[in-house]
């Protein structure tokens, strides 16, 4: 004798249909969202890793914004120093002209006045501000760093400090963003304001013009040395920008790998799931419409 089977097949059939419908729904959801992980429970590990890549992407965005801001500031500083270099070039040629022994005292004083004009322009450059803060003030950015001061040997007084700031430009990497104003304009090994002031004094008195000229020369080369920092920093910004863009592409790819749906596969799974659903429905319909023995018993 064969074993008796469960005569009530309805729960099994209904369960099969539900399972088939669930499969269709899963694939439909993946197609609609483009993601294979729609609930944390779909893949908890991928969802947790997604948290980190999302944070990294968002940080990456911020680093790129930082770099753009930084670039503006560095360019402002670089172009101010470029102007300063031109002023110094003028000062050198004017000084050379003033050193000509054939000049009258009045001519020399006229030249001295020209240098004073350069001095004023230099002061304005040293007080360059970018978006409301002084860029050659060290970290004392809200106080005007250079003030004209006739009691000082250099003719100016420095109210900034020699502190520098650094900004993070990528995960674990930061760069220095400024050089103290005193290091650029009143540096011991080439003091721009002192040199210009000495040149004015020499031109006015007619004594020590050559010495003053070579002082201006030293200050000029000191200035070009300091300017290199900003040139390098701008290069560094560009390098970091392209690094961050590449990183962004990688992170996006990682995210897709973690939670993205493979559309080709999902579409294939969906048609399979639909077939499964149809099969379950058709089987159920056929089984439920099977006659019982009762239909054949003639009373």
């Amino acid at each position: 004798m064969i074993n008796r089977i469960n005569p009530n097949v309805v729960p099994d059939l209904v369960a099969a249909i539900e399972q088939a419908q669930q499969n269709v729904q899963n694939t439909t959801q993946q197609m609609a969202t483009g993601r294979s992980v729609n609930n944390l429970s779909d893949n908890p590990a991928a969802a947790a890793a997604y948290v980190n890549t999302s944070a990294l992407l968002s940080q990456n965005d911020q680093f790129q914004t930082n770099l753009t801001d930084l670039q503006g500031k560095l360019q402002a500083a670089d172009s101010a120093l470029n102007n300063a270099v031109q002023l110094m070039t003028t000062a050198i040629s004017v000084g050379t002209e003033g050193a000509n022994g054939t000049l009258s005292a009045a001519d020399r004083q006229a030249v001295a006045q020209q240098v004073q004009g350069l001095q004023q322009q230099m002061l304005a450059l040293a007080n360059t501000s970018y978006e409301g803060t002084y860029i050659f003030a060290g970290t004392n950015v809200t106080t005007q760093p250079f003030l004209a001061d006739s009691t000082s040997a250099s003719g100016v007084q420095y109210n900034g400090n020699s502190n520098t700031t650094s900004v993070q430009i990528s995960e674990g990497q930061s760069m220095q963003t400024n050089v103290g104003g005193n290091q650029i304009f009143t540096n011991g090994s080439g003091n721009i304001f002192q040199a210009l002031n000495d040149l004015v004094t020499a031109l006015n008195s007619g004594a020590g013009i050559d010495a003053a000229n070579s002082e201006v020369q030293r200050a000029f080369s000191q200035l070009t040395t300091q300017r290199v920092f900003y040139g390098n920093a701008l290069n560094q910004v560009q390098t970091s920008q392209s690094f961050l863009s590449q990183e962004q592409v990688n992170l996006n790819a990682q995210q897709t790998q973690l939670v993205g749906a493979d559309m080709t596969q999902v579409i294939a799974e969906q048609s399979q799931a639909q077939l499964g659903e149809q099969a379950a429905l058709s089987a159920t319909g056929q089984i439920l419409s099977l006659p019982t023995l009762l239909s054949y018993i003639k009373s």
Partner: protein, 462 residues
């Protein structure tokens, strides 16, 4: 030696027996779709023979018993699986709500607000004296704090809605156990006078299965209506005719309902199965663990930022104070209470040297995101662990639930193969009993004719 009247007697007895069988068949067909019904079968046996003149004569048929076809072992296994399934179902319906709070892949959760806060500091580091950027830091800090407290509030409200089901479950359990105890009495009463208690046992089996959906149950069937039910940890629910009510009572500190058994025993933490078990597991274990992880992240972020802000100088050159309102001691409730202490953007202590353009202290604050401040993990690392846990709680319960559902389906098939009513089988029986009944009736009619013939024969002799 047989007589006509004994033959008629046998025929009538046979008709009665077939009628009983037809009744049973009819009852089986009537209950083909009744949940919990176990098909009944009749056993025909020969009636004790009669001895007459040294000969044994067959004395017809009788119904020895009408028996319900059931397998108690399978039913007990079904009850156990039902406890598991009930527990996973209620646990899942709660924890699925919890996981949506952290559904990072669709953009909800805390990651973006934590990162936005650090990013605003990152932005401020490029221009530390900029008041707009300082304000942006405060705004993002506030929205992060709101996100923490909002998430914590959502978790608590999920927890409360689970809690509100406890009282209801307890009263359902009590109602079921008293019905079961009552049926125990009826069954032992019926069986003591030899009645068929099949349909009462069917009812009781149904109720025990319903009870298994609510709470973990251990069954000891002593027979004769002596079914004893206890929780798996041994608290009595039903002993024979007596049921022992569970009571729910709110805990004065937490406000959550606790479950007490006979003798005012708090059995809350030992309830392991059924929807009550799953609800308690979610309310007392899973959600508190998520909440405490959230609190740990919040409180450590707050204290680290407070120390960092205190180490620097604000825009006016004054030493920094608390950035966030100090978290509660021990951290419990930190996420719910998270809020920013600073309202004046100049109070952010960005500077270490006291000058307005220094950002060195922001660097120190930014470093917090890479420091193992939350139980050896970075804030975001701890958060992504929380995300994993919230997802994993659901996914592992889901696979357990699927396993239990498959087992239940299998057990129900097995039980159905023993107890289920097959229309085909009943139809065949119907025809068989009908034919036997007709045959017996025919026999009776023939004997009646014979009796008449005999009577006429006697009459003719006059």
């Amino acid at each position: 030696m047989g007589t006509l009247s004994s033959a008629l007697n046998i025929a009538v007895q046979s008709m009665l027996a077939e009628q009983t069988a037809l009744d049973t068949t009819s009852n089986n067909i009537a209950n083909a779709n009744t949940p919990g019904y176990s098909r009944q079968t009749v056993s025909f046996t020969e009636a004790p023979p009669i001895e007459y003149g040294g000969q044994l004569y067959g004395n017809g048929v009788q119904i020895s018993q009408i028996a319900s076809q059931r397998n108690t072992v399978l039913q007990m296994r079904l009850d156990q699986e039902t406890q598991q399934q009930g527990s996973y179902n209620s646990f899942l319906s709660t924890m699925q709500q919890v996981q949506t709070l952290f559904n990072e892949t669709s953009g909800t959760g805390l990651q973006s607000s934590i990162t936005a806060f650090f990013n605003s500091l990152q932005q401020l580091s490029t221009d530390p004296s900029n008041v707009n950027l300082r304000q942006a830091v405060l705004t993002s800090a506030q929205s992060m704090a709101q996100n923490f407290s909002g998430t914590s509030a959502s978790l608590t409200s999920i927890q409360k809605s689970v809690d509100s089901t406890v009282v209801q479950s307890v009263s359902q359990i009590d109602s079921l156990t008293s019905q079961i105890a009552h049926l125990n009495g009826q069954i032992s009463g019926a069986e003591s006078i030899g009645q068929n208690a099949g349909s009462l046992i069917d009812q009781r089996t149904q109720l025990v299965n319903q009870l298994s959906g609510l709470i973990d149950v251990s069954e000891i069937d002593g027979g004769n209506g002596n079914l004893t039910l206890t929780t798996t940890s041994g608290s009595p629910l039903v002993v024979g005719k007596n049921s022992y009510q569970l009571t729910a009572q709110a805990d004065p500190t937490t406000g959550f309902e606790h479950v007490y058994s006979l003798g005012n025993n708090d059995i809350t933490s030992s309830i392991s199965g059924g929807s009550l078990g799953g609800a308690l597991q979610a309310r007392d274990v899973a959600i508190p663990s998520v909440l405490s992880q959230l609190d740990a992240i919040a409180s450590n972020l707050e204290s680290s930022f407070n120390s960092a802000n205190q180490a620097g100088f604000d825009l006016n050159g004054n030493p920094g104070g608390n950035f966030f309102v100090n978290p509660p001691a021990g951290g419990t409730g930190a996420a719910a209470a998270m809020s920013v202490a600073i309202t004046d953007p100049s109070r952010i202590a960005a500077s270490l040297d006291g000058s307005t353009g220094d950002n060195a202290n922001i660097t120190a604050m930014l470093n917090i995101q890479n420091q193992p401040i939350v139980g050896g993990q970075t804030p975001l690392g701890a958060y992504s662990n929380l995300v994993f846990k919230a997802g994993n709680d659901v996914s592992s319960a889901q696979s357990e639930q699927q396993g239990a559902a498959a087992t239940i389906q299998q057990l129900q098939d097995q039980i159905g193969s023993v107890s289920g009513v097959s229309i085909n089988e009943e139809s065949a029986n119907l025809v068989q009993y009908e034919q036997a009944y007709q045959a017996a009736a025919q026999v009776a009619s023939v004997i009646a004719t014979l009796t008449a013939t005999t009577i006429n024969m006697v009459n003719g002799a006059h």
